[in-house]
Symmetry: C2
Subunit: 152 residues, 2 copies
DNA sequence: TGCTTTATTGAGACTCAGTATCAATATAAA
DNA sequence: TTTATATTGATACTGAGTCTCAATAAAGCA
């Protein structure tokens, strides 16, 4: 609760710096995101809010997610399926993702050797590295027996 | 020309194996892709065909791209902008991409250390690696002076 | 507290890449 | 040729995400 409130304060400051206002909808959306460890799409968040009797429009969720992304509260990502997903970024250092093609499970990882190679490779091309996406697609441990039966 | 024709033959074989037919539209689309080094979206291919007085419907381009992807002729990729791009895969070994946020230029790279780390990391999680996406976003050499003026 | 300004909201229209439908047409095999 | 059926193009449709705008609510101030 105290942690949450400090995040809401931080959000309020971020909003004020841009001349934006702190609304009940924005608080509800941020709190929902802070309470989740998942990589969710807009509608997941919307339905989660509704299951807590909070009614917000889809447009407002999209609008708030954009503000939260710019403010560094959430990370927007896509795993190639044409939809964007959002994850609570505050408690997490940078990481990349392994994504199970069967069940959608996401395993997070970081590897300093890879991070270092990225810097090295971009320097070779005089390319100024800003950010990166690194996604490993495959079959997770739990899904391998089932996948084998289907011939994957 | 001879190289092209052998690719068309290969395409024909692939189609026949599936009970599909070789049509003038499919040949035109494959030839257009074989003649390009770029990472193009559907409409780029469509307009390229039209500039050569070849009229094909957008639906047919999409349908053919799907067949070509399954057959290993093209690689379908997205760089996070919500549209798919396709590149001629035949002459190329596996590689990943650096993408310029200013001009869209794409630089291809491969790094055996990174490839090896990916295998290592997935093994640690008993994750069966199938494919991966690794994209480095930033500012290319040519765009850095312009970007500096804009404060990037 | 009440007033004023203006940011925000929700409903629904809209966009746009990609997919599905279906009658007309072209392919390939006999 | 003839025939069976795969393919095409036109166009309707889908679905994630954006835009519009009148009604509402937040924030600063008297
Ligand atoms: Mn994550
Ligand atoms: Mn490439
Ligand atoms: Zn799985
Ligand atoms: Zn550039």
């Amino acid at each position: 609760m105290t942690i949450k409130n400090s995040n809401i304060e931080h959000f309020k400051d971020t909003l004020q710096a841009e001349g934006l206002r702190l609304t009940s909808q924005r608080i509800a959306i941020l709190e929902d995101i802070l309470a989740s460890e998942e990589h969710r799409e807009c509608d997941d968040i919307l339905f989660s809010l509704r299951s807590n009797q909070i009614s917000v429009s889809r447009a407002t969720v999209y609008r708030t997610l954009e503000i939260l992304e710019k403010g560094g509260f959430v990370r927007k990502m896509n795993i190639g399926d044409g939809r964007f997903r959002y994850e609570n970024k505050l408690p997490k250092p940078h990481h990349d993702h392994m994504i199970c093609l069967e069940c959608g499970r996401i395993i997070e990882f970081v590897d300093q050797e890879i991070e270092a190679r990225q810097v090295h490779l971009t320097k070779q091309h005089n390319f100024k590295l800003v950010r990166h996406i690194h996604q490993l697609f495959g079959i997770c441990e739990d899904c391998q027996p089932a996948a084998a039966n289907k011939g994957v």
